[in-house]
């Protein structure tokens, strides 16, 4: 039932392997977004469609002091619930825009506003035009609150890479992030990664394995013990009514990581009306 493993597939897999080797050896401060444990695929929200999503991550076994594990501010990660709401809209057949509202509930406290962000995401060409499907992601995060993150404004760019081998989708989003204001603005670019293997078993229930982490500044990484790296076995699928879910347990792989995180994402897609014309089939950007 699956597509055959071709030379192109092998070459693409080799490329991905090199990417992950690079992530493993590079030095850098752990930069990951605990509000969004999600791997982005090549495909974007179709033109005229809106996607409503809530991403949730609860730190079951974390750190007792601020600034450790997923906590980038003064609040400790133990018991933290990261809660975000996202609305994305397909501007064209190849570009979507999104707005996020980030909330957080530290252990024993109420839910608090933690920041906002906007992003554009796109895909280049059409599926199967390149040996690896390629997309892009540009995000501006601002209005952060220091108890949750001491950086005030951050700009992030990710190439999005995906290769389907039969029913298996191999996805990688290497992240390059620059603090524009707040603590760390004088530093260079940080490196992180989001990656995943998703197997399409059944529409209602499929397994996945996701990877999140960061190593710090590109040219001055953290010691490995202070970096954060996580592996999340997940299940994902579509419930009646078109409600899509993605649930997983994340295991921290280093001392700097939180030890156990539970993630639970829900999303619903609806057509709300297109404002731009259909993209040409032979286009590559818009």
């Amino acid at each position: 039932m699956a597509a055959p493993v071709t030379n192109r597939s092998i070459r693409a897999a080799l490329g991905f392997a090199l990417l992950f080797c690079a992530a493993a050896v590079v030095r850098c401060p752990a930069q990951l977004d605990p509000w969004e444990f999600e791997v982005y695929p090549y495909s974007t929200t179709p033109r005229g469609m809106a996607e409503f999503e809530t991403d949730n991550a609860s730190v079951v076994d974390g750190h007792a002091a601020g600034g450790e594990g997923t906590a980038s501010g003064t609040v400790r990660s133990q018991g933290m619930w990261y809660n975000s709401y996202e609305v994305s809209y397909g501007l064209t057949d190849r570009i979507e825009a999104a707005f996020y509202l980030n909330m957080a509930q530290p252990g024993g406290s109420g839910l608090q506003w933690a920041g906002d962000k906007v992003r554009l995401r796109g895909r280049l060409f059409d599926q199967e035009t390149l040996p690896v499907d390629v997309g892009w992601y540009l995000e501006l995060e601002w209005h952060k609150t220091p108890q949750f993150d001491d950086a005030v404004r951050e700009l992030e760019f990710r190439p999005i890479l995906e290769k389907d081998v039969g029913r298996l989708s191999i996805m990688a989003n290497p992240k390059f992030e620059k603090v524009l204001a707040g603590v760390g603005h004088e530093q260079g670019v940080e490196f992180g990664y989001v990656a995943g293997l998703h197997y399409r078993w059944e529409r209602s229930l499929s397994p996945g394995l996701e990877f999140y982490g960061g190593s710090g500044l590109i040219d001055h990484a953290d010691p490995v013990g202070k970096q954060q790296h996580y592996v999340f076995p997940t299940v994902w699928g579509e419930l009646p009514g078109g409600l899509e879910y993605d649930v997983g347990l994340g295991y921290g792989l280093t001392r700097g990581s939180d030890h156990l995180i539970f993630k639970f994402n829900l999303e619903l897609e609806r057509f709300v009306g297109a404002i731009l014309k259909a993209s040409p089939d032979n286009g590559w950007l818009f």
């Binding site: 039932m1 699956a2 597509a3 055959p4 071709t6 030379n7 192109r8 070459r11 693409a12 080799l14 490329g15 991905f16 090199l18 990417l19 690079a22 050896v25 590079v26 030095r27 495909s43 179709p46 033109r47 005229g48 469609m49 057949d93 059409d126 599926q127 199967e128 035009t129 390149l130 040996p131 690896v132 390629v134 190439p159 890479l161 290769k163 389907d164 039969g166 029913r167 989708s169 990688a172 290497p174 390059f176 260079g188 670019v189 490196f191 399409r200 529409r203 590109i218 040219d219 078109g242 057509f271 259909a278 089939d281």
Partner: protein, 111 residues
């Protein structure tokens, strides 16, 4: 590791084998009219890259989707889209209209 090497390695999968796959069969077509796909079963050759044109001849907007093939495209009323597929192994692959649950699911059979 030097930052510029990291960026180069990160982008390596993009350039590994840039050649566009040769699409052997471009004449395949699926039509949507009278609230159903036609043909319901499309037989395609296995082992070769394919291109299927999906024509929406109805007055309703549809989303042509295949879970197993990981394809999802909105087709406007009166419009068409091209769906490119890799060389498929022999077998059957679903397709459906994600906007209308009552539209009968179709099958692509590769052999």
């Amino acid at each position: 590791m030097n930052g510029k090497y990291l960026i180069i390695i990160s982008l390596l999968p993009i350039v590994v084998g840039m050649a566009d796959p040769e699409i052997k069969d471009k004449g395949l077509e699926i039509r949507f009219e009278n609230h159903q796909f036609s043909p319901q079963t499309l037989t395609v050759p296995a082992g070769t890259a394919l291109q299927i044109t999906v024509l929406n001849l109805s007055r309703e907007r549809i989303e042509f989707e295949s879970f197993r093939l990981n394809r999802e495209k909105v087709v406007e009323p009166g419009g068409s889209v091209i769906v490119k597929l890799p060389a498929l192994r022999a077998g059957s692959y679903d397709f459906f209209d994600d906007f209308h649950a009552d539209v009968p699911e179709g099958t692509i059979i590769a052999k």
